[in-house]
Amino acid sequence: MTAADTTAAPNAAGGAGPALAVEHLDVTYRVRGQARRALRDVSFQIGRSESYGLVGESGSGKSTAALALTRYLPRNGRVSAGSVSINGMDPLAMGPAALRDLRARTVSMVYQEPGRALNPSIKVGRQVAEVYEIAGLHRNDALERAEAMLRKVQIADPHRVMERYPFQLSGGMAQRAVIAMALAAEPALLILDEPTTALDATVEAEVLDLVAALREEFDTSILFISHNLAVIAKMCDRVGVLYAGELIEEGPAREVFDAPRHPYTVGLLRCIPRGGQRKDHGRLDTIPGFLPPPGAELTGCIFAPRCPIAEDRCREAAPPAFPVGTDRTSRCYLHEAAAELPRSTPADIELPTVRPDSRPIVALEGVSKTFGSHGEAVKALVGVNLSLEAGETLGLVGESGSGKTTLARALLGLIEPDQGSVITLDGEALRPDAKRRPRDQLKALQIVFQNPDSALNRRHTVRRLISRPLARLAGLSGARLRERLADLVRSVRMEERQLSLRPSQLSGGLKQRVAIARAFAGGPRLVVCDEPTSALDVSVQAAILNLLVDLQAKERVTYLFISHDLGLVRYLSDRIAVLYLGRIMELGPAETVFAGPHHPYTEALLSAVPSLDGQRPERIRLTGEIPSAADPPSGCVFHTRCPRRLPTGECESSEPPLREVAPGHLMSCHIPIDQLTVLQRSGAGTVTREDPP
C-alpha cells in the first residue's frame, strides 16, 4: 500500500456501521489461580467521527477496555465473553497478520506517559516514519511524511525535533509526537487513554485542542478514556460511566453531566466543586463505602452497597440498562429518583473568619533557591515575598517548574534556600535546615504529602506512625499519649482497630488520613498540603477535603494548599498565589484572582482548564513551551508566551515588580490594572504572535 492509497483506507466515510461496536464484553484476569472479572457485560458503540468518553475511577476497568480492544491484554487476561467489532472487523478472531494490519491501519492508541511510549534509543523522526514504512513507503519518503505530520501537530521546528531523542523533548512535545504517530496511519478509531493526565494545564489545553482539530480534519472516531470528568465533557460527544467493570450510565455528554440518572454518577458529580463553589457555601458530598474488591461477584446492582436509595430489588437482581432518554441508558431501577439523591454528608459547616488585621504567622522575604552551579544553575525560586496569616488557606498555583514544591520545602527546612532568604515564624527567623530547628519551630510547621505510599513508612504500624510525632513534638507519653492518640484517630474518622495495621493494608484514602493525623499530632500552626488529593480517586478526594476543612475549623490552623487543580484551589482557598518560573505573578483574594482582573498568566491558566459547566469564553492560547528554569527569559519571564505583551518592548527588557494594584491584591505585570480590566472584560487585546525564536 503506497502513500497515495491512504485515502482509500478502511476508515473512509464510505464504511457503513459504527467505528466501534462492543457487545456484552467480559474481560477476566487470572490472579493467583483465581479468575477475576475486570469488565462485566459492557456494551457501547462509537459512530463514525464520533467522540466517546469512557469515564471511571481507579478499578473501573477503563484501561482494560482499551487493551482488550487492541488485543493487548497481559498474559493473564482474556476476553471471556462478548464481541468487539472495529470498522466491521473482529479483532478477537483475527489471525496475526490481520491483527497487525488492523493495528497498523485502523486503530491507534495514545497513552498517558508520552516519554515512556517512545523508544529512548531511537530518534523521534525514525519512530514516526516507521508508521509510514509499515504502510509501504521507502525510508526517505517516510521521513518526509513524518516531518509533515510533525508540523501538523503544531511542533514548531519539526526538522530539529526529528533528530532528537525522546528524553530531549518536553512532555507536551513528546505527546504531540505520539499523536503524530497515531494519526499518521489515518486510523478509523483513535483510542486515547489518559493522554493529558501527566501534562501541565496549559500544555494539556493545547494538546486537547490539537486532538479536536485533528479529529475534524481526519474524520476519526475517538475513544477517550479518563478519570477527569471535565476533560471528557470538553472533548466528547457521548460518555459512558464505568464503575467496577460495569457501564452503569451512558448518553450524550452534556446531558449526562447536567442531569445524571444513576446514583453513582450523581454522587461523583457532587464530589467535585463546580461553578466556583467555595468551602463556605457548603461541604462537598461524598460517596460512602468502598469499591468492591477486584473480581468480587455480587448479586444485584454493583453499586447497591454504597447507594443511599438502594432497595431490596436492587440487591436481588442486577438491573438491566434502562433507556432514559434518546440514546441514553442507566443501569438503575430507581433512575428517576437518582436526581434527588439524598446527600451522604451534611452540607453545612462552621468556619472561622480570617481576621483581617491578624499578624502574619509565617513570612517569607526574598526567598530564592538556585540548584546546581554557575553554568547549569537552575533558579527554582527568585525573590519570593509572601506572608501567611493565622487561620487562612493560601492556595499556591503553578505548573511544572513554577517552584511551588521548592517553596514548600524551603519553608519546612527540607531544602536550604539561598543566602539572604529570610523565613520567619511569629517574627522569629527560622533556621534554614530543619535539623537545626528547635522543637517548637518543628511543631509549628508540618506537611501532608501528595503520595501516601511514599509518605508513610510501610514497615511501621499506624499506631507508631502517629505516636512518634506525639512523643517527639507534643512531648507526650504514657496514658496521655494514648488518650491523645485516640482523639486524633477519631478526628480523622478512623477506627482504633486500624492502629495495628500497616500502610499496605489500607486504602489510599485511609493512608492519607493517617498522614493527616500525623501532621496534626504535634498541634501545628501551619500545615502545608502538597497536592494532598491528587493521588486519590475523585470520590475519596471529597472526603479528604472535607476532613481538611473540618480540622482547620477545629484546630485553627493555616494551610498552604498546593495544587494544580484550580477547581479545588478555588474551593478551599481564601487567598491565592500564582507562581511562574519561581516568581510570584499574582497574589490576592481567591475570588478576585479568579474573577479578574488578573494577571495574563492567570487568565490563560484559567481559560486552559476545562470545566464541567460548559464552554468558557474565548480560550487564551499560550504558544510555545514553558521555558526552562535554567535559562529563563529576560525581563518579565512570562513575556515569551504572553498574549497581552506590550508592544513597547517593556516586557522583554525589564522585570515588573510585584506591586499592589488593589487592596490586598498584588500583581507582577507592566500593564496598568485599569487597562487590564478593560481588556479582559471585553475579551480583546490579545496579541497573536509567532512562536518564540
Binding site: T286, P288, G289, F290, P292, P293, A296, A304, P305, R306, C307, P308, A310, R315, P342, R343, S344, T345, P346, R409, L412, G413, L414, A434, K435, R437, R439, L442, L445, Q446, I447, F449, N451, S454, A455, L456, N457, R458, R459, H460, P469, R472, L473, R493, M494, E495, Q498, L501, S504, Q505, L506, S507, G509, L510, R513, R518, A542, A543, N546, L547
Partner: protein, 297 residues
C-alpha cells in the same frame, strides 16, 4: 461506616462485608514453605548443618583414621564412598568436612553482612563526601577477586579459621555495602524520610529505625547470595592449599590431595567431595531463589 466521612445520617448499611483492608498478608514463613525450591534447598542445607554439628558422632569411621592396608579401595559395604590414598574413609570425611566449610562461610557472610549493611546505610543515606571517599575504597577492594585477596592476606597473616573468616568477610563487605547502598538510595527518594526529619529525628535513628527495616529484604537476599559465594570461595581456597589445612577433613582440600590419582581410575576420592560441594551450593541457591521470589510478590 468504616472510613467514610458520613457524620450525618447513617450511610447505607451492612452490604459491605468486605473490608477495605487488603487483608493480613500471609506470614513470610508460610509462603516460603509452600515453595518446592525452598523445601528442597532447605532440606539439603539442614542435612549438611546436622553433619557439621554432629559430624564426628554420625560418621561411621574416624575421619582421621588412616589404614595403610586399605588405601584406594572402591565403594563397598564397609566404606560406602571408598577409601582415599591414606586409607581414610571417604564417607566419614565427607560428613565431617561439612563443619569447617560451613563455619567459615557462615562466619564470613555474617561478618560481611553486618559491616556491609552498616557501611551501605551510611553511604546511601549520608551521601556527600563520605559516599564519594568510601566509594573509592569500595571500588578498589572490588577490583580484586576474593581468592586473590585471600592469598595476599593469608600469606601475610597465616592460615587459620579466623583468618579465613576475616579475609572473606572483609572482601564481602564492600560488595554487600554496594547493594545496600542502592536499596537505601531508592528509599531516600521517598517522603517518609522527610517526615522523619521534620520530627527532628537524628540521622542515626533515621537510618536504623526508618530506613533499615525497608532495606532488610534486599539485605537478606544479598547475604544468602553471598553465602553461596562464600562456600565457593572456601572450597576453592582449600583446593589451592590456602584454606583448611590437612589433615582436617575438608572437601576442597581432599580433592586437591586426591585428584592426582584420578587418571589411575580412583574417581570416588574426588567425586564425592565434589558432589558435596555442589549440593551445598545448590541448596543455598535454591533457598536464595525462593526468598527472592517470595519477597518479589
Amino acid at each position: 461506616m468504616i472510613g467514610s466521612s458520613a457524620a450525618g445520617p447513617a450511610a447505607p448499611a451492612a452490604a459491605i462485608t468486605v473490608t477495605q483492608a487488603a487483608g493480613r498478608p500471609a506470614a513470610p514463613w508460610r509462603l516460603l514453605l509452600r515453595r518446592p525450591t525452598f523445601v528442597v534447598g532447605g532440606i539439603i542445607l539442614l542435612f549438611w548443618i546436622v553433619c557439621a554439628v554432629f559430624g564426628n558422632q554420625i560418621a561411621p569411621h574416624n575421619p582421621l583414621a588412616q589404614s595403610l592396608l586399605a588405601t584406594n579401595n572402591g565403594p563397598s559395604g564397609a566404606h560406602w564412598f571408598g577409601t582415599d590414598q591414606l586409607g581414610r574413609d571417604v564417607f566419614s570425611r565427607v560428613i565431617a568436612g561439612a563443619r569447617d566449610i560451613l563455619i567459615i562461610a557462615a562466619g564470613a557472610t555474617a561478618l560481611g553482612t553486618v559491616l556491609g549493611t552498616a557501611l551501605g546505610l551510611v553511604m546511601g543515606y549520608l551521601g556527600g563526601i563520605v559516599d564519594t571517599l568510601v566509594g573509592r575504597v569500595v571500588e578498589a577492594v572490588i577490583a580484586l577477586p576474593v581468592v586473590i585477596v585471600a592469598f595476599l592476606f593469608i600469606v601475610a597473616i597465616g592460615h587459620s579459621t579466623g583468618t579465613l573468616i576475616l579475609v572473606i568477610g572483609f572482601v564481602f563487605t564492600p560488595l554487600i555495602a554496594r547493594t545496600v547502598r542502592s536499596a537505601v538510595l531508592v528509599e531516600s527518594q521517598l517522603d517518609y524520610l522527610s517526615s522523619a526529619r521534620l520530627l527532628g529525628e537524628k540521622p542515626v535513628r533515621i537510618m536504623v529505625v526508618e530506613v533499615l527495616p525497608n532495606v532488610l529484604p534486599a539485605v537478606l537476599v544479598e547475604s544468602t547470595v553471598r553465602l553461596g559465594y562464600a562456600i565457593f570461595a572456601v572450597a576453592t581456597l582449600s583446593f589451592l592449599g590456602f584454606g583448611v589445612q590437612p589433615p582436617t577433613p575438608d572437601w576442597g582440600a581432599d580433592i586437591y590431595a586426591n585428584y592426582g590419582v584420578l587418571p589411575a581410575g580412583y574417581w570416588w576420592e574426588t567425586l564425592f567431595p565434589a558432589l558435596a560441594i555442589a549440593s551445598l551450593i545448590v541448596g543455598v541457591n535454591l533457598v536464595t531463589d525462593a526468598i527472592e521470589q517470595v519477597l518479589a510478590s
